[in-house]
């Protein structure tokens, strides 16, 4: 049964949502509409000549191997970094929840990375892994790994994935910890009395009860990895070497703002928007079925 609240003929509710609608119009619908229009044109940056080209920009993108390699890199980057930060966030939350001494300090320390700007996070990891003066980079070279993220694509990808996962890890940690603390102790204790070990308790009781949190975090992480990692890429690799870390959102920037090819750049943002919408729909339709809202 659905609950209904009806407001008869009063303009008040419309007035109340108006500010939100205006913000949406100005900051979302209007620019999105502009992007949609621009994606079907080729224009000079100063805006003197705007040539309507229909779907040519999309055709050019979809037939370019470079664009597809960017799509692959983005998906790999997003999935890997999301998994890494979700799993590490979850386990750290479990441990922090069980910690007896200095619990507050641990929590505080683990939340810290979230306060760091993505670009700074990127630079930190770049320094750690730098092949000439980074401590981890030098260590890797010392044990015989030919480590060079400025030339080898996979190495660069590892650095940006680690940076992105580490940056987002704290966010996941906070939510998981809050979720853990909301699980009634009696449930865990009952399971313990029935003979379930710590691992079983996590797998059979904690994880299912945390599924709404996990689902929410997964969606948030995906969006973060798709869009907000721009700063990390910009600071660490600028999309290189080769095309190895040229994720879609960075390519939009590079082609549009450095290259001044506004048509192609807009077409890319439209495709990116469609992709993220599709991914979110898939997540809600298929993954959410497995979620238990207690």
């Amino acid at each position: 049964m659905k609950k209904r609240a009806l407001f008869h003929g009063s303009p008040l509710p419309y007035l109340l949502v108006l500010p939100q609608l205006i913000i949406l119009m100005v900051f979302f619908f209007w620019p999105a509409g502009q992007a949609l229009f621009q994606s079907m044109t080729i224009s000079d940056p100063f805006g003197f000549r705007v040539i309507f080209v229909g779907l040519d920009n999309f055709r050019a993108l979809l037939s370019s191997s470079e664009y597809w390699s960017s799509v692959r890199v983005t998906l790999f980057f997003t999935v890997t970094a999301t998994c890494l930060s979700l799993v590490s966030g979850f386990f750290m939350a479990v441990f922090a929840d069980r910690a007896i001494r200095a619990r507050r300090t641990f929590k505080l320390l683990l939340i810290w990375p979230y306060a760091i700007a993505p670009a700074v996070a990127g630079i930190l990891w770049l320094f750690l892994f730098h092949p000439i003066f980074g401590s981890i980079g030098l260590f890797l070279k010392a044990i015989g790994v030919p480590w060079n993220p400025s030339l080898i694509g996979n190495h660069a990808l590892i650095v940006v994935i680690l940076a992105a996962a580490w940056k987002q890890f704290s966010y996941n940690f906070v939510f998981f910890l809050a979720g853990l603390q909301a699980i009634p102790k009696s449930l865990i204790e009952a399971a313990a009395i029935d003979g379930a070990g710590p691992a079983t308790r996590v797998m059979k009781i904690v994880l299912p009860l945390l599924s709404p949190t996990t689902f929410f975090l997964m969606v948030m992480n995906f969006v973060f990895m798709f869009f907000e990692t721009f700063g990390i890429i910009h600071a660490v690799t600028q999309g290189g070497p080769g095309n190895a870390t040229n994720i879609l959102v960075y390519k939009v920037y590079r082609d549009g703002f450095i290259g001044q090819d506004l048509g192609s750049s807009s077409a890319q943002s439209v495709l990116l928007m469609i992709m993220v919408m599709a991914l979110t729909v898939i997540q809600f339709r298929y993954v959410e079925r497995k979620v238990v809202y207690a």
């Binding site: 000079d44 940056p45 100063f46 000439i132 400025s150 080898i152 999309g239 290189g240 080769g242 590079r254």
Partner: protein, 435 residues
């Protein structure tokens, strides 16, 4: 008290009147931070002090692309800055924009008779159309060879290498002397494609490297000279005597300063950074050329150039012309040259520096100018290179070459792909300018 006040008020209102009648004010957007930013500000402050009727507002906007994007956005909103600095390789976007007041028109209209023959030729050629110079060269530089004199002594290198063969030998000896890398270069395409092809008069693209028309096609994958050069570099990378340090000059400079690399091919404008960072003796020489080249030609310029944006009133344009005229005069050029390491755009300034013995103490500062003016009047293939959407094209070329250095792709295949992808980008540019 009241008398003083009255005089003050009178002076103020008189000042206001003067301002209202003649004052011209314009924005000057530039990408110079740090020391170079202070030098620009000093030039602007001196100008403002000398010209009470003109106010130049210099603004540091970040990197070249921030200046460009900011100016484009401002232009579309009808609030364009009067004057901006554009990266040399992005000049085609400005030249075809229709948003620029060409200096060949601006200067005579404001009553300034500029002697264009007095400018460094490769710089001026790059920014001219059929009618004359569109933009005023400002911060020009060119790649040269910087070498560590101590490393040369340690490795037993007696003569400064002049040809690529000699460079190879020297790099090998430097490695043998215990250095981590023999040679590296900043801005690899500027050095290995642009300058290499200009010095040897190689056609990189049709229409004389894009200088005679925007509708160009790249041909460098079919030029044995260039292809062999890349293959040789690849063999050097494999042997460990050449180290790839990325697409910009930052890491290359750092590798040189930290004594990891004994030689770098880098901008002449890196002089300031090298001088302040290096704890060893260093020197500069010409870019190498191939053995048997009879008269190596000039190298290509890099850096930035000044564009006047359309949309100001006549009075302001006149003020901009006055400022440009001031910048091209010898004292300002000398100050700029000495403080920043960029080459002076005017030959008169170069001669003045020479006359006062500046190059006896700073020989490396002269190398770039001599190299840029080498070989007399440039022929069709060494007047410069001009490509629309150059940023994307250089990205593509960098990507393909990075794959070669990493061993993921053969040289021939990478160059062929590089040409194919770059041609597609040029095609888009040509469409965008409605040709």
């Amino acid at each position: 008290m009241s008398m003083k006040f009255m005089i003050g008020a009178f002076a103020m209102s008189a000042g206001l009147c003067v301002n209202a009648a003649y004052a011209a004010e314009f924005e000057f957007w530039h990408p110079f931070g740090g020391h170079n930013g202070e030098v620009v500000q000093e030039l602007v402050d001196r100008f403002n002090a000398d010209h009470p009727d003109i106010t130049v507002n210099a603004a540091f906007k970040g990197g070249y692309s921030e200046v460009m994007n900011g100016a484009i956005a401002a232009f579309r909103a009808g609030k364009a800055p009067g004057l901006m600095v554009t990266l040399a390789r992005n000049a085609p976007t400005m030249l075809t924009s229709g948003a620029v007041v060409p200096v060949h028109k601006l200067m005579p209209e404001a009553g300034y008779d500029v002697d264009w023959n007095n400018f460094i030729r490769p710089a001026l050629a790059l920014f001219s159309d059929e009618e004359g110079p569109v933009s005023l060269p400002f911060n020009s530089s060119t790649p040269i060879l910087w070498y560590n004199v101590d490393a040369f002594a340690k490795a037993g290198i007696e003569a400064v290498p002049e040809t690529w063969d000699e460079i190879e030998e020297a790099a090998r000896m430097i490695r043998a002397a215990g250095y981590e890398c023999g040679l590296t270069s900043g801005w690899p395409h500027w050095v290995h494609l642009d300058s290499y092809s200009q010095i040897h008069r190689i056609e990189v693209a049709t229409n004389n490297n894009g200088m005679d028309g925007w509708d160009t096609e790249f041909t460098f994958d079919k030029q044995p000279g260039y292809v062999n050069h890349i293959k040789r570099l690849k063999s050097w990378v494999d042997e460990g005597i050449y180290t790839y340090t990325g697409r910009t000059g930052q890491a290359a400079g750092a590798a040189f300063i930290s004594e990891k690399c004994g030689m770098i091919l880098e901008s002449s404008a890196s002089y300031g950074a090298i001088k302040s960072g290096a704890t060893f003796e260093f020197a500069a020489a010409y870019m190498p050329y191939e053995k048997g080249t009879e008269d190596p030609a000039n190298s290509v310029i890099g850096g930035g150039t000044l564009f006047v944006l359309d949309g100001q009133d006549d009075e302001t344009n006149k003020a901009i012309a006055t400022f440009l005229d001031y910048l091209t005069q010898v004292p300002q050029q000398l100050y700029w040259h000495k403080e920043t390491g960029y080459v002076p755009s005017s030959l008169k300034a170069y001669e003045a520096a020479k006359a006062e013995g500046y190059y006896d103490e700073n020989p490396h500062q002269e190398v770039a100018i001599l190299q840029l003016n080498r070989g007399g009047d440039p022929g069709p293939l060494n007047r410069g290179l001009r490509f629309g959407y150059a940023s994307q094209i250089y990205d593509v070329m960098s990507e393909e070459l990075e794959r070669v250095w990493a061993g993921d792709k053969e040289v021939d295949a990478a160059l062929a792909d590089s040409v194919e992808r770059s041609n597609a980008i040029i095609e888009r540019f040509v469409r965008s300018i409605g040709q």
